[in-house]
């Protein structure tokens, strides 16, 4: 099993969510995040005094999938999240040892 983590531009969340649902993904976790990559931050000016804001607001989306679905789901996310401009975010996968559905106690692929 894999955990797919995607850092997205907040306004692309809706597109990615819809694309994942269309691709048969049934669950996900979304949280607000902030950070920077090559996009860096931005400058704000208050009464002439400049403040550099390093951290840009982003959305973190997490999906648990079977190993066999991993590549295709990553492709769906990348395709839906892309605008072609700097700051589109990143997607990565990490191996997952075990998944348990809390309600039933099912384990492994059954729990996804």
């Amino acid at each position: 099993m894999k955990l797919i983590t995607a850092i997205l531009k907040p306004f692309k969340l809706e597109d990615v969510k819809n694309a994942l649902q269309a691709a048969g993904v049934t669950g996900m976790t979304v949280s607000e995040a902030s950070g920077f990559g090559r996009q860096r931050g931005h400058t704000e000016v208050y009464r002439g005094a400049e403040y550099t804001v390093d951290l840009v607001p982003k959305v973190r989306l997490e999906v648990l999938v079977d190993d066999k679905d991993s590549d295709s789901v990553v492709d769906v996310i990348v395709k839906a999240a892309s605008t072609g401009s700097i700051g589109d975010g990143k997607v990565w996968t990490t191996p997952v040892d075990q998944v348990i559905r809390v309600r039933t106690g099912e384990r492994g692929s059954e729990a996804i």
């Binding site: 969340l13 969510k17 979304v30 607000e32 704000e44 000016v45 208050y46 009464r47 002439g48 005094a49 403040y51 804001v53």
Partner: protein, 433 residues
């Protein structure tokens, strides 16, 4: 003494004006509160609210008599009396002549000026002032600075027959300050500078971002100030008459001009006109037109406002050069705007709009009026700065003026008031997606 008959129109307008001027102080609390960080907004607003409490009490006990009583016949202060306003309840207002409004209405109106002046100072020492020290400062500063200075500027004396006694020093010298460019704004601005020096810089000043936490609150505050200022300026006519109308119109158009002036500077210098700039520009314009509102034509009010916006927008950056943490620019807005507005009377003043006004430099009056204005500016600024500096150091050396460093970093709302302004937890967020 001729028989005075109460004028209900004038009295009604003065009652309304008084309430308008009171609203300026909560408005100021929002204006300042929005500009500080989330951890100190309540303290910032409380500094204004405690001022309403303390000054109102002092005003009744001895403040009004000290500012406007005439028995002492001194140009520097009024009566020293603790009569609690009990003896004058049935009197009419006598301030260089009789006004057909009850003296208690005049006293209440002037009280609101006495409240907002120390409240204005609080912006210079945001985020770090021990609340008890501030309360003590407000009581002493009002007593030895505001009440006497109000006498210098606003007390036109007790007129009985043809004799006038107890006129304030600057009023007697012919200073034209209609609603308090000197007594309120230069006074508060100079005191703010002194306290910013006494208290020193905030922890992390110029190293970490100290952005305004809520610009909508700032805009709400500036809107309330603008609204209340019609009472401040037009009410200073002490009558519902043509002079009140002139002051009203000038207040509106000067403020509008200053919004444009400040935003113009920002657009050219930084590329973006900001909402904080619009709010600040409005206040700068209101400050500058305050002394001039009943002595200049409306077109001149626009010019005064436009330049007030430009001057103050350029002035607020100077604190970084001089290295004092006047946190919310009390100096850059109130001192600079007050000086400009007070001197501008000497340039644009004309007897055409107000028969008691002199002609300024641009109306062929020469520099005579400008010199009187400069005397008022210099005297009030110097007195306020020096006395505040001494008072500030006295409080610093005895009970301490600042909170502890760790309390300041953690947030003054928590350490001084045991409250926080906002529930910041994000774990209960729902429905956004």
């Amino acid at each position: 003494m001729e028989e005075i008959v109460l004028n209900s129109g004038d009295t009604a307008w003065m009652l309304a004006s008084t309430a308008l001027v009171l609203l300026m102080t909560p408005g100021l609390a929002f204006f300042y509160g929005g500009m500080v960080r989330t951890k100190s907004v309540l303290n910032m607003m409380m500094m204004s609210f405690i001022t309403i409490g303390i000054v109102s009490v002092l005003w009744v006990i001895y403040g009004f008599e000290l500012a406007f009583g005439y028995k002492a016949d001194s140009p520097w202060y009024g009566n020293i009396s603790f009569s609690g306003l009990g003896g004058i309840v049935n009197d009419f207002t006598n301030n260089g002549g009789y006004y057909p409004i009850p003296v208690l209405v005049f006293a209440a109106f002037q009280l609101m000026f006495a409240i907002i002046t120390p409240a204005l100072i609080s912006g210079a020492i945001a985020d770090r002032t021990k609340f008890s020290a501030w309360a003590i400062f407000v009581a002493i500063w009002s007593t030895i600075v505001y009440f006497p200075v109000a006498h210098w500027v606003f007390a036109f004396g007790n007129k009985v027959g043809d004799t006038v006694t107890g006129t304030g020093y600057l009023a007697g010298k012919g200073l034209e300050d209609f609603a308090g460019g000197t007594a309120v704004h230069i006074n508060a601005g100079a005191a703010g500078l002194a306290l910013a020096i006494v208290l020193g810089k905030r922890v992390g000043w110029r190293k970490e971002a100290m952005r305004p936490h809520s610009l909508p609150l700032v805009l709400l505050g500036s809107g309330l100030l603008w609204f209340g200022w019609f009472g401040f300026n037009a009410g200073s006519a002490l009558a519902a008459n043509g002079i009140a109308g002139l002051a009203f119109m000038n207040t509106q158009v000067a403020t509008a001009g200053a919004v444009c002036g400040w935003l113009l500077v920002e657009k050219i210098r930084n590329g973006h006109p900001t909402s904080l700039g619009a709010a600040s520009g409005a206040v700068a314009g209101l400050v500058a037109i305050t002394p001039a509102c009943a002595f200049v034509a409306p077109w001149a009010a626009v010019v005064i406002g436009l330049f007030a916006g430009i001057f103050c927008a350029l002035a607020v950056g100077l604190k970084y050069k001089f290295g004092f943490d006047d946190s919310l620019d009390v100096v850059g807005v109130h001192l600079v705007g007050g000086i400009w507005g007070s001197l501008a009377v000497g340039l644009f003043g004309t007897h055409v709009v107000n028969s008691i006004g002199l002609d300024g430099l641009f109306y062929g009056g020469g520099t005579a009026l400008l010199v009187k204005q400069a005397l008022g500016v210099g005297l009030v600024a110097a007195y306020s700065f020096l006395v505040t500096l001494a008072l500030g150091y006295a409080i610093e050396k005895t009970i301490g003026f600042r909170i502890a460093k760790d309390a300041e970093v953690e947030g003054i709302d928590l350490s001084e008031h045991a409250e926080t302004a906002y529930e910041m937890s994000s774990s209960s967020r729902g429905g956004a997606f």
